[in-house]
């Protein structure tokens, strides 16, 4: 058969979501000749449609459906309806992401073994390891064109990087470079190289940054075996009397509801929507939601330990020019409990435009101190801090009493920092501040976390079915033809930006799904 597919075609693999996990899985399956339908809740905006304007782009791309928040994280106070800054569009959050593509460190696959018991943390080892993942990482790096791999040269450092690098060198940091970025430093794979436009977060208008939107998806479509259906917002996964999933109910652009039948369903809606969909699909057979015999669906929500440091200097930096995040210090990524916490963190350059700087520098801040910082905008440098946070069972996506536009329970996102997260953040703020002080900062601004971009862990992978939702292949422990293909399968978060790992897991999962289908096991 060939795309597009009929609603009653029950031979297709249905993937929910078209981002790093879903978009990659869709192409990988299509390349193997498997009939695949990706249902994407958002619309399709091609690269030329992207907008070099932060708020306008946010309106174009961001997932703005109803969400509620709770917990002691500051986001719940400052952005109570916006717990996460992720995307509702074809390409998912790979349209918005910065491009940082780092492998986990080997010990991070074994957090429980490495860190031991951490009070209040629901740590678990991944059922897979670095050696097993290495070939899939290599495939992902090649697919995505990651700099400093496969002979691909590094990106040039921009002004923000120059300040960052000089500070890092004065601090004695050794592992300092412009990153492993899925952004073309030279023309590759039919796409041009980075034009240093400075709007990575708004969707790259030059398509120099890897996104499934203009790589995996069109490649899959060219096979005739992949259909991407935009404005198809999945409401429920359906199952038969045998407990196997049979299809999904979705709403189209006009709100009309349809059922797409399926042989296999893979959920890749990011770590808020994926568990919410499983919970909202509860039935008499599965009263606690699909694939939830462990009770872990929605639990262990992680968002990475994050923060930023911005600093003002007596001379201009113009840090908004050029790649948003091409600069990294990796010296603090190690596990070294002598610092007062387990796990580690990365320091990565970051710039925001003026409108978002106003919104995020110190949310809720006002008065002359705030305004003076904004007055220094073109004399600022900036970095983002991203580190491993502790999974906690009480941090969770649950169904809210409030309803979304379809009358379904909205997700509530509950998060409170673990003491380890706080200790790590304070250390990172100190180190980032010292870096900028070392190159003559006149003011430093320790900036709190933004709405979450790295949402992880809410359908976690476990060796034992009682500890998690999916097995080592992302296949749910409870339902053989139901898979999870996004960051929600992360057992622990590691210090690194998650996209490369999500893509690597999707490539690996595609091999497994094809094999299982070939054996008629699913």
């Amino acid at each position: 058969m060939a795309a597009p597919y009929d609603l009653n075609d029950d031979s297709v693999v249905v993937i929910i979501g078209s981002g790093a996990g879903g978009g990659t899985l869709g192409n990988e399956l299509a390349q193997k000749g498997i009939d695949t339908v990706i249902l994407e809740a958002g619309g399709r905006h091609e690269a030329e449609d992207f907008i070099n304007d932060e708020w306008a782009s946010f309106g174009q791309l961001a997932w703005l459906d109803k969400r509620t928040t709770s917990g002691d994280w500051r986001v719940a106070k400052d952005f109570s309806g916006l717990p996460a800054w992720i995307v509702k569009a074809v390409g998912g959050s790979t349209t918005h992401w910065a491009g940082a593509s780092l492998r986990f460190q080997p010990h991070e696959w074994k957090a429980k073994t490495t860190y031991g018991d951490v009070e209040g943390a629901n740590l678990l080892d991944w059922p897979i390891n670095a050696e097993e993942m290495a070939p899939y990482y290599a495939k992902a790096e090649d697919k995505m064109g990651v700099t400093n791999t496969n002979g691909i040269p590094p990106l040039p450092g921009n002004n923000n990087y120059k300040v960052f690098e000089a500070g890092a060198r004065k601090m004695g940091y050794k592992n300092v470079h412009t990153g492993n970025m899925a952004i073309n430093s030279q023309d590759r794979d039919g796409r041009t190289h980075c034009q240093q436009s400075g709007f990575c977060f708004q969707g790259c208008k030059f398509a120099a940054k890897w996104s499934t939107l203009y790589t995996e998806i069109p490649k899959g479509e060219e096979t005739g075996k992949l259909e991407v259906r935009p404005h198809a917002h999945v409401l429920q996964i359906q199952h038969g009397e045998d407990g196997k999933v049979t299809g999904v109910l979705y709403a189209d652009k006009d709100g009309n509801q349809h059922v797409q039948k399926a042989r296999v369903v893979a959920v890749a809606g990011n770590s808020i929507e994926s568990p919410r969909l499983l919970l909202n699909s509860a039935s008499s057979m599965f009263p606690d939601g699909l694939a939830n015999s462990s009770g872990q669906v929605g639990k262990n929500y992680m968002r990475h330990m994050t923060a930023s440091v911005y600093a003002s200097f007596d001379k201009p930096v113009n840090f908004y020019r050029g790649t948003t995040m091409a600069g990294i210090v990796q010296d603090e990524a190690r596990h070294d409990p002598s610092r007062g916490f387990v796990g580690g963190y990365e320091l990565e350059t970051l710039a925001l435009g003026l409108p978002f700087m106003a919104a995020f520098l110190n949310p809720g801040g006002w008065g002359r101190e705030f305004a003076a910082a904004m007055d220094n905008y073109d004399h600022m440098a900036g970095m983002w801090i991203v580190g491993e946070d502790m999974p906690q069972e009480s941090n969770a996506i649950t169904l809210s009493d409030e309803k979304d536009q379809y009358g379904l329970p909205a997700p509530n996102v509950h998060f409170s920092d673990h003491a380890n997260d706080i200790a790590m953040r304070n250390h990172a703020w100190q180190q980032g501040t010292a870096m900028y002080d070392a190159v003559g900062a006149t003011q430093v601004y320790p900036t709190p976390p933004y709405p979450s971009t790295h949402n992880l862990g809410t359908n976690r992978m476990s060796a034992d079915a009682k500890d998690g939702v999916v097995n080592r292949w992302g296949q749910t422990h409870d339902i053989a033809n139901l898979f999870v293909s996004d960051g929600s399968q992360f057992t622990t978060g590691a210090a690194e930006n998650p996209t490369l790992t999500i893509v690597s897991l999707a490539i690996r999962q595609a091999d497994y799904i094809a094999e299982q289908m070939g054996q008629k096991a699913i």
Binding site: V163, F199, M357, A359
Partner: protein, 187 residues
């Protein structure tokens, strides 16, 4: 000659000669529904809010985000949506009118005659004194409505970006690859 928002030429002397004019802070109220910023050739026809209320909101906006190189008109533009919204939204209008009334009361000077008297908040000559009043109400709906609208409405004005050294959209200029993405020499 100044131009108001509707592009109508207005002559300052005519307004000064008109009855009911009064200066409030940097702004000037003319008649019953117009707020002028004489030094900037910019005015605002108010549809719902009292001009005196808007004049106080304007000062409050400057005190929330005090950028001394940013002219009043940018703040006024950011506040205009409040007036627009107040036309059909009595609750919003009341929130703002009552909020300003409360601000004036807290400033210790009662507003006795809107047409001829200065407002209490505006009589506080030093920013620090006004900010002390704002700190007392910063958790109120009124303050948060003002701050929340300004943080987008002020900083998202493209015409204001050059004052902060932000260049905005770059793709149509080919990005910064040939335009200074790595041009600093001081580090």
């Amino acid at each position: 000659m100044m131009t108001n928002e509707r592009g109508e030429g207005v002559n300052r002397r005519d307004f000064l000669a008109a009855s009911g004019k009064t200066a409030i802070g940097a702004a000037m109220v003319v008649g019953s529904g117009t707020l002028l910023l004489p030094s900037q050739g910019w005015g605002m026809e108010l549809k719902a809010l009292k001009p005196e209320t808007m004049a106080t909101m304007l000062q409050m906006a400057r005190d929330i985000y005090p950028h001394d190189r940013v002219p009043d008109k940018f703040y006024a533009k950011a506040l205009r949506a409040h007036d627009d919204a107040s036309v059909d939204d009595d609750a919003k209008k009341a929130l703002l009118e009552d909020g300003v009334g409360d601000l004036n009361a807290r400033a210790g000077l009662k507003l006795t005659n809107a047409a001829t008297e200065k407002g209490g908040y505006l009589d506080l000559g030093w920013e620090a004194d006004r900010v002390a009043v704002l700190r007392d109400i910063e958790d109120s709906d009124f303050f948060q409505t003002m701050r929340g609208s300004l943080v987008v409405g002020l900083y998202n004005q493209k015409a204001l970006w050059p004052l902060f050294g932000y260049e905005g959209a770059s793709a149509e200029k080919g990005g910064y690859i040939e335009r200074g993405f790595n041009d600093i020499e001081w580090v």
